[in-house]
Symmetry: C2
Subunit: 444 residues, 2 copies
């Protein structure tokens, strides 16, 4: 911790709020600069590799295998401090980040990368019946619900109730919804095939509900069609142009055209929408900028706020424009690249250079659909699907996963699952376990 550079209080103070992809890659870029004193604030003590969170939710990986402590990632950066704390607001005049507990943190430059969480578009009453997938706790809760459903079906005598336990509805057919539906299909057809004595897990009904007229809006239509076929082979019923109008303990009410339909199910998963975290709204208020309906903030070309060149917003929280005015998609690469660009712009200013506009480089788009199947869109002439796309998906995810031990462990898990069709982390944890089987009561 001794350092030959200037004293820490003579340094340029940068505060990063949020240790997701945007914040972490900004921190790595800034940590190298000896003129900068860096503080990273996050509510969690770890960086989570969100693209694999659905694998935790479906029992293929453990939370610890896709997460790494922020302190340990940044330990070699002597001028970097990590604070476990909740940023609740901003004093733009004094240039301070306010915390829910403990003193404010002063900054010269600020990078905000607090991301998004799932949202129910004004239907918060649906939340208890349809958990979303953003945190480790969400993933463990979804895993619990999926596994408990099969357990409850095994013990249920009433055929209608049993069928409701054996039905899984996923709302929203973006990459997360598709990957969840595919993984549940695999669990039913492969993983649990020989595990039960009263039920046949392969009888499970998996319904993927999507408002738009097709799934995977961010992928080309040809690949989306291939994904539909792969999903159907896993027993997933894909329902496009379908509006969810109600979710309760008895199931999902949906509207297709003029027709209303009920899907009786005990397990509904929400993969339909996101909105910016609450710190985004505090930032908008404090900096006097407008947030869009989802709470996101439009940034200038160089990722700063108008009137506040010292504040950068990156990742999912920012509305960033790409070539032709298209929005940069809310994927890991968007956050990684914008985080890095914000860091480079801070360093450019310290050099006396001008900031540069953020240019998103599309590295392609990948999604898996069950075991050994994926779709890859690497540009107009490089679209493919099936096993080669899946191998590419594997490689990219191992490459970006942080921590060498995690990479090796995840590789072992995947190789083993591929050979055995297994998912070994199918633990039902959290309390209470059993009341959930009895409740909810069958609808009257």
């Amino acid at each position: 911790m001794t350092d030959a550079g200037p004293a820490r209080d003579a340094l340029h103070r940068v505060v990063i709020v949020g240790g997701g992809f945007g914040g972490l890659y900004a921190a790595r870029e800034l940590g190298r600069d000896r003129r900068i004193d860096l503080t990273l604030v996050d509510r969690r003590n770890f960086h989570l590799f969100q693209p694999l969170l659905y694998q935790v939710a479906t029992g293929a990986l453990s939370p610890g295998e896709i997460a790494q402590p922020l302190r340990s990632i940044l330990r070699r950066q002597a001028r970097t401090s990590v604070i476990l704390g909740e940023a609740t607001g901003l004093d733009v005049a004094r240039r301070e980040v306010l915390l829910s507990d403990g003193g404010p943190i002063p900054y010269d430059s600020l990078v905000v990368s607090t991301g998004a969480r799932h949202a129910y578009f004004g239907h918060d009453a649906w939340a208890p019946f349809a958990p979303g997938l953003k945190t480790v706790e969400d993933a463990i809760e979804i895993r619990r619900r999926i596994l408990i459903a099969f357990e409850a079906a095994e013990r249920e005598a009433d055929p209608a109730v049993r069928e409701a336990w054996m039905t899984f509805a996923i709302v929203g057919a973006g990459p997360t919804g598709v990957e969840l539906a595919g993984a549940i299909g695999e669990i039913a057809h492969d993983t649990l095939r020989r595990d039960f004595r009263s039920i046949h897990p392969e009888d499970a009904r998996i319904v993927l509900v999507e408002l738009a007229d097709r799934i995977l809006a961010t992928f080309p239509e040809g690949l989306a069609r291939k994904a539909v076929r792969s999903l159907e082979r896993l027993g997933v019923a894909v329902r496009t142009s379908t509006t969810v109008v109600g979710i309760d303990e008895a199931g999902v009410a949906a509207r297709v055209g003029d027709r209303e339909e009920r899907i009786p199910t005990r397990t509904v998963l929400w993969a339909a929408g996101v909105q910016a975290t609450s710190f985004g709204r505090e930032l908008a208020k404090a900096a006097g900028v407008e947030a869009d309906r989802a709470g996101r903030i439009t940034v200038a070309d160089d990722l700063t706020l108008p009137d506040h060149p010292e504040i950068f917003v990156v990742g999912d929280l920012a509305v960033m424009r790409w070539k032709g005015g298209r929005e940069v998609p809310g994927v890991a690469q968007g956050a990684i690249q914008s985080g890095r660009q914000a860091a480079r712009n801070i360093r450019a200013r310290l050099d006396g250079r001008a900031t540069e506009p953020f240019r998103y480089k599309d590295k392609g788009n990948l999604a898996t659909i069950g075991r050994g199947k994926a779709i890859a869109d690497l540009g107009r002439f490089r679209r493919f699907s099936g096993f080669p796309a899946w191998v590419l998906w594997l490689g990219v995810h191992i490459l970006y996963l942080i921590g060498f031990a995690n990479r090796l462990v995840v590789l072992v898990r995947w190789a083993w699952s591929f050979v055995t069709h297994g998912r070994s982390t199918r633990l039902i944890t959290g309390t209470p376990l059993l009341p959930e089987i009895r409740e909810p009561e069958p609808p009257a």
Copy 2:
């Protein structure tokens, strides 16, 4: 699931309550017998490898790495059903196991292996301040408390409060207490060494409190002395002949001879005592036998209950005698061997043979103390310590760990931790995270 054997309802019905070591090894032995229809009931859907639970509590392994779904372990046994349910009582006259939800399960033979949980010897008020280590949820809670303590110390300005956060007290110096203390010592001295900016984790004070006049009562004295030296090298203060008289949010009150002493600490872990699970008491009541103070049940030589030759009790729940009238220790081997013997006795009866008495075969006693150090007691002339004992410990634990993927993953984790001194699953999970940092208030 088709089976050329006799119809299931003509089979001898065996019910096993509890899927720990005793129940699981009994189930494996019985599953091979085509005359037996087997039902295993457990409150959890997985078998937990308890000897490595302290590694989850100290961030070296993930829960999913030391647990395996019971259904998946027993899937190849066509005449075996697994029921996720809570056994609450017994009707010995009708020969039925009662469940908290759902119908009773009839049996011809019953194996009870519900084990033990930690106990506070009448001081239940200590429970919120000193969690024990028996379940996955316990381990995650202990992991959270240890990690939060360092985070809170990093942010604390008051030196006294900071010191209380940096102090860890472990009550009970059996194998679990010793392994926990050693692992925390390692975290402080090795794992977190470069992670913080305001505190020096190696200043952590770790106090191991033991009522008896030496630690590790089940080990020979020479090895226990070696363990003390290893612990002291990791910064653990070993306090024997010390009685805990109080535990609250401000710390531990202990009595040494006539002197009373306070250890101000925010983190107390309980490794001092166990008692039988509540199903044990129900069993004793229903079968008209006496339970000892810890709720355990004395069994006949062949592991059956007096007057109830159809009921077997194995593992930690049973008081089993060994050569010279010594009690079989409450370790994995005791449960494994007694579970197997109960199963063999059930099969012997079906063969028309007499049951055989249980003969515990002592395979030795192992405990680790931090990285690369252990003690091994394999009999009078085979006692050793240090690195060779640790390698033996590794081998034995990998061998008994269930699930090939888990074995490989755990090997990778250990190899990597050994090389890097790291512990990569240091996640603080569960909600709420931050209020814990503010509470408890410093004592007035």
